[in-house]
């Protein structure tokens, strides 16, 4: 029995949840950013996980993260005094939904915890297996 694969599965889950947390933080940090000098507006991104048939074994499915940009129309904020406002007084900002981001944040933290528990359980089992036949 190869215990390392159990650790790798949980590690892939932890990396995935951490990436989701990073991306959520990035979206929130850029929620109120405006167009840069080239006219590009920040696009909110999402992490989408897909089960990967990894380690050459059908039993073991690690998670493979994919980052996708959620193509959404920018949020128009009425701020006539802003230096970057257009003729109508509107300024374009990324369409970041704070509720979605907070939900992602919470589920990512909980998901991370669940993966840590699974990894600790694998460790406990491996240690017990090493004790077989010991005095």
């Amino acid at each position: 029995m190869n215990y390392f694969s159990a650790f790798e599965i949980s590690a892939s889950g932890m990396a995935f949840e951490r990436l989701r947390l990073d991306v959520t933080a990035m979206n929130l940090a850029n929620a109120n950013s405006v167009r840069d000098a080239q006219g590009n507006l920040y696009q909110p991104v999402r992490v989408v996980g897909k089960a990967g048939r990894s380690f050459g074994n059908y039993l073991q499915q690690a998670v493979v993260p994919h980052i996708v940009a959620a193509a959404q129309a920018p949020r128009l904020v009425h701020e006539p005094n802003h230096p970057l406002a257009d003729a109508q007084g509107f300024i374009a900002m990324p369409n970041v939904n704070p509720v979605d981001e907070m939900l992602n944040l919470v589920t990512a933290v909980r998901g991370y915890e669940a993966n840590v528990r699974a990894m600790n359980a694998a460790r406990t089992m491996a240690l017990r297996a090493l004790e077989i036949g010991a005095r």
């Binding site: 215990y3 949980s10 996980g49 897909k50 359980a121 297996a129 004790e131 010991a134």
Partner: protein
């Protein structure tokens, strides 16, 4: 030593330990993919197959064939039932955590049983005394 109930016990425990470690990997994969798109949680079908071999194991007249009955037991992969859309989609982490805790405990119980069996064997070798 290699005959009868003696051999069957170690074979049974080894089989169950393998199944438990396999099940752990499945649960870990389910938890890792808890937020994956279109993922169906999977489980291991082992106990139901073992129940089929139980009749042969409990029949004292068939001790010779119990080893063969056990080697026919193969843990197989099964998908969790997925109901109508929206009802039972994806992984339920609480359920998986409960299964994980149960499986870890089960594994520890099995290693304890195996240790006891080895201890009995050691007592027999040393003639019961130390």
């Amino acid at each position: 030593m290699d005959s009868g109930a003696e051999a069957v016990t170690s074979q049974l425990v080894r089989l169950a330990l393998d199944a438990a470690s396999m099940r752990h990997r499945l649960i870990a994969g389910n938890i890792a993919n808890a937020h994956s798109e279109g993922f169906r949680p999977r489980r291991l079908d082992f106990e139901r197959q073992l129940a089929g071999a139980r009749e042969v194991l409990l029949d004292r007249t068939q001790v010779a064939s119990s080893s063969r009955a056990l080697s026919a037991v193969r843990p197989t992969l099964a998908y969790d039932n997925v109901g109508p859309v929206g009802e039972r989609q994806g992984v339920r982490v609480d359920e998986q955590m409960a299964l994980l805790a149960m499986n870890t405990l089960h594994y520890q119980a099995l290693t304890t049983a195996l240790n006891k069996k080895i201890a009995i064997l050691a007592a027999a070798i040393s003639g019961g005394g130390r």
